[in-house]
Symmetry: C2
């Protein structure tokens, strides 16, 4: 697996699983009907933010990460990041590789900490992954997310120093 800069040429490979994940409405606080062009502009970040893809040996896009400044002004030393893994390639460590990559990037870029603003508490796979990579739950917004199957569930704010 290789992690490299995402470009607009990668978008046709990202969009199918991006769309599937966003439309499911179970893990992201994105508009569930987010369109392809708007989604692309949303996900493919420009400097100082970054977007990357994880690709397999044959070049297949397995997953993607977005890394960004989380707060502005005198909070601009706090990074944020989001990850999406193609469900067809789940369980192969793609999410872990992307998260680790983003932590390393943020540290190298001079950020002092990384904060995830809205981790759906029923997304236990992600919560467990982030915890294993050193993130703690700072707090949980009660009933912050209306899960299509579970109803109102909490949104964790997660954090780790870099």
């Amino acid at each position: 697996m290789l992690i490299r800069e995402a470009t607009t040429e990668d978008w046709p490979a990202i969009w199918p699983f991006f769309h599937r994940i966003v439309a499911a409405g179970e893990t992201f606080t994105y508009p569930t009907e987010l369109g392809e062009t708007e989604g692309r502009d949303w996900w493919l970040q420009v400097a100082p933010n970054r977007s990357v893809v994880a690709v397999g040996d044959d070049g297949t896009v397995l997953g993607t990460a977005k890394m960004n400044v989380n707060h502005l002004g005198n909070g601009a030393h706090i990074a944020g990041a989001s990850y999406m893994v193609d469900p067809a390639y789940a369980g192969r460590g793609v999410g872990r590789a992307l998260c680790t990559y983003s932590i390393d990037w943020a540290r190298a870029a001079g950020f002092r900490a990384m904060q995830f603003n809205a981790v759906v508490e029923t997304n236990t796979y992600a919560v467990k992954l982030y915890r294993s990579l050193g993130f703690d739950i700072l707090g949980t917004l009660p009933e912050g997310f209306r899960h299509p199957a579970e109803g109102y569930v909490g949104l964790h704010i997660m954090h780790r120093r870099l």
Copy 2:
């Protein structure tokens, strides 16, 4: 005191204290060098978000509030809000009136809760005000804000149900 919709005609009255507060860099996670036009576009929200001003009996703008959707998609039932009071009119209950107004607006608009994403912990006046109006601290981002005088201080995430 009257609270009414803010318009672009109000901006020349808002900008001097908005600029003073933002440039001081002590209470907002806004770029401290935010310019007048960008600041206006930042602060004066369009539907479904809103911006209001609190005005005195003679029409003087005493303070202003911005009310917005805080999360998107399946988190869109969470509101956010920000407040600025002209320091020349501090201590007259303007901030309390604006905060109360925004809570009432958010409840009437169908939001289920209000979340403040970044309340600087040294802004004890604001923290006390929000607590008195029913907000709790969900968590604190350690060293989330580089205060120009105090150094790195925490950013509270505050919340109240509506």
